[in-house]
Symmetry: D2
Subunit: 325 residues, 4 copies
């Protein structure tokens, strides 16, 4: 009887527009080693895959060895778990359809799971975060963009093509603000970073006095600082943002009936200036039987931790595979 | 060895606001016997359950006998499959929380499954209709109200409380038309029956000549007849209705990524006057990667057939139970 | 809006060692057209696939046309639904690994699902037969061989490699009768056709008088006829067969805890001569808490109907695909 | 917006015949506090539930407080997750049907999940042990008794009544050794603790010289020590034990097709004396296509750790509930 060697670690990779983070994670979500490089250093996807593979092997060899790693999970914007490809990512350097899962598997000789960042975030919250023990919930990521994912009966709802959860591109204002996607009135244009700045600019146009005029740069973070100083117009910026977010979430919840909505991403750190008007607007608009029943929670994991952990959970979900067996 | 007698039939019940239909259905969806009575004849729910039970027993005794029936499935507005209750139904005679599944089971001595009409419709389409073989799809019911249900990975998405799919009460016009639910701008107020009539009245207010002025009664059906005669204002009524419907469905689809959207209910029979503008608006608003990919289909089952068949599928999904074993 | 044409029919194919049957089946399990040819006429698998494809197209063109067919389901001995291949089939003309699903799909241009006959039988019973409405059950096929499949929580248990359910090759007599598989004491050698004949020969060797000596050919069917005439030795043949079957099934049930065991295949028609001793032996050996709780049922579908219907259900479970889209 | 307080801990309880262990466990499987008492001190189940509840509350109050605990998971011999009861446990002090889940929930005011020890062990291995990332596997517990559980498609196979996995009471020798369950030839009588001693006694009866004659007490552990010293008869004891185990497992695997078989419990520590003959016998008897494909693994969790962790995973799987909401 040949002894079978159990593999107790996986690699979680989080590709974001600027930084690619990769970490060795054990079964219980302990991050054993972690490193990162600039995504933007690799405008060619082949050189990116080579670099990612080399970096992973180096990290792994310094931490127990290649043969202790079971598989790899990868989070990326615009990735489809159904096709295993990154598809037409707006802000990544690589255009068109990139079969990243297959490329990395062939290069590194281990099973690779790929899914988009919103789904991986949700998986991270489900496995190690606020959504642990929940079966139906929504995870929202509000930052530069607005992504989401919901779970149905304890499983990631992927949809027919793997595109489910495009909350940022639901229309909240018919013929509203122009969106980079080509449509008008997308929620993302009101509640993600650029949208908040636009709202501030629109409000400032009327000439009302505000601390925001003194800011070197108008950003969600600097606007929030004005709120903290009691600036009424800044507070109004977040109130309007929250109102839109609450309306969008109410529609989402009326369709999905979640136990909780979990907020992640930089904008979710805006605190009460965003959350209170958002919750109030949510309660005003959500289907009556759900009023007072949906928990709105700010994630307690950091963004980078969540995505690497979610990618590690994804890694465990793909069947084991090795070139050397 | 005692011979085990297989039960090959169930009873499907469809409670709607006016009529309650009940039928004996076999495994393959053949309706073997069917009857109905007026829901409104029983303002007291106890007498309703007694009547329903007596009627079912009578039908069953005339068609093979009680001992050939495995279980009962019931479709009702405002029913929750999670609680087994009809909860605060707006248009049924019985108010508050009605534990109908338990009441009927205790009365008739067979297992009873209960779910709301939108979910039962979806189950009917999945088992015997257009959605057979699909894993992710939306079923819409457009009539007096606007209900929906979606399937996730081959299963009815129920949500945390069993309320998922309240599409009619998603907000499409912030501070728009008043809805009976207490909110403003609910989609139902624009695309269900009363909403279509309201749109017609609004358009007619301007004084434009139209055949609609000659109608004895303004209803979705009579307005459609005007469309068929080439009446431009009537066509505009449906164009606006379709535009709203398409926008709402685009948002729904961007979140759920369905293979198909299946339209049921009286309004879905309006044909091209509704469907063409709805589809055009849907394509304009849906998340880009989904454009051209979602099938919009009018159901090929009649409304009464669908709900009785769906209820029969529900009956098969509950564990068998008998007082007499 | 381009009208979407719903496909309401599939093709179910049952490949058995001698005959290949193919039929057009609708959603509700109505067999609309059916034909067959000799599997053994095609010792080369390429010519088999060509013939099967041509025959299907011919049948389909005569019955509504190719464009009305959604997909194809195929049942075959030794097929794995995990790999889509027929693997080392003992009694089919084609040796080694045959990627039949891919071959047929490429030839005919429609999605093809493949699974082994035991699993397809179980799917047939689940969808249209005795197991409808059950979540945990075993389907047994007793004929030339002894196959099985069980459902876990409403789904076919496939196992890690798609080989689950090899009940015929569980060992019931350590160092017992030699089996074609190379092992000794396999249950199949005691309860499938050849095993029953062997038991008869062993019992006859002692010289006891019996009608079986006058039979032109000793087969399960002719032995049963002797039972029907009251021949004690023939009855003893089936008693011993039943005892073994009951022991094997008791072990199976103690592991799986099924609601029912459904018997299919030619030997299951032996009636009380087999079933009574089998059930008695089952009750003697099964885990105590299960005694009296497991239903033993002879299938009410004919063998050919069941497999074609099961293959049709399999066809609906594969994602739609068409060369011409 | 009222802030929602996330609960990040559960209590895992392992009731075994002698000791009851309870621990506070966080999401990641860290055991934060742990204690135990003698099950046998409470011959009355009401006083047991009171003691367990009081002890849990005391531990919890000393470690973050009652309001930080989400729910409780309980592992017990003879427990059914379907009924929530301990049913006719042979070796626990409480006879008949004990509705432990409901009793504990009513006493402590938190949601309680209950399942039998074999299933909880499997859940422990799946969540935090060797089976992490596997979908189809068997977990075996060999000690005083012989229990098992298998996973089907990533979920615990419970069976129709919650009794699945009674591997110890499958019959491996028709009319073999008498078992406490009333049957003959149960596998437990050959491979669990008492069976190994019986085998030793049978072998020693022939008079062959052996170190085992000098042992103060014949137990699996002392017999293993003789093996370690090279005693041939002791080695033969384990060889026969392994042969039986391998035969039983081969039958199990031929039905279930697992990726791995994971051995837990005291006897699994016997090392190569047991495992080598077990694996050899397994390979001899398992269905041909599975030969060389099933991993046989000794668990790397300690028995007490596994069951408390498994119970914590069970706790997360039940819906949250609180008397005080």
């Amino acid at each position: 009887m040949e002894e079978y060697q159990i593999k107790t670690k996986v690699v979680g990779v989080d590709i974001s527009n600027d930084i690619t983070t990769y970490a060795i994670v054990d079964i219980r979500g302990n991050i054993l080693a972690k490193s990162s490089f600039h995504t933007t250093d690799f405008p060619d996807v082949n050189s990116f895959v080579t670099a990612l593979s080399d970096n992973i092997v180096e990290l792994v060899e310094a931490n127990g060895g290649y043969e202790t790693i079971r598989s790899i999970g990868v989070s990326s914007p615009s990735a489809s778990s159904v096709s295993g490809c990154i598809e037409n990512a707006a802000n990544l350097p690589w255009k068109g359809i990139v079969p990243l899962a297959a490329m990395l598997r062939d290069r590194i000789g281990l099973a690779v799971g790929l899914s988009n960042d919103a789904h991986v975030s949700a998986l991270g919250e489900y496995t190690f975060g606020c959504a642990h023990g929940m079966n139906n919930f929504i995870v929202l990521s509000i930052g530069v963009g607005l992504g989401s994912c919901f779970f149905s009966a304890g499983r990631d709802h992927e949809g027919h093509n793997g595109y489910a959860g495009e909350f940022g591109h639901t229309c909240v204002v018919n013929h509203g603000r122009k969106c980079g996607c080509g449509h008008e009135g997308c929620l993302e244009q009101y509640v993600a970073a650029a949208g908040i700045v636009t709202t501030a600019q629109e409000l400032m146009a009327a000439g009302t006095p505000t601390l925001m005029r003194d800011l070197p740069k108008l950003t969600p973070r600097t606007i929030k600082k004005c709120c903290d100083q009691g600036d009424e117009l800044a507070i109004e910026v977040y109130r309007r943002t929250g109102e839109m977010l609450g309306l969008g979430l109410a529609n989402y919840a009326s369709l999905v009936d979640p136990e909780a909505i979990i907020l992640t991403g930089g904008i979710s750190r805006a605190g009460k200036w965003l959350l209170e008007p958002a919750y109030q607007s949510f309660e005003e608009h959500v289907f009556g039987n759900l009023r007072g029943k949906v928990k709105m929670i700010v994630s307690q994991l950091t963004d980078s931790e969540r995505d690497v952990l979610g990618a590690s959970a994804l890694a465990w979900s793909v069947p084991e595979y090795s070139l050397f067996k």
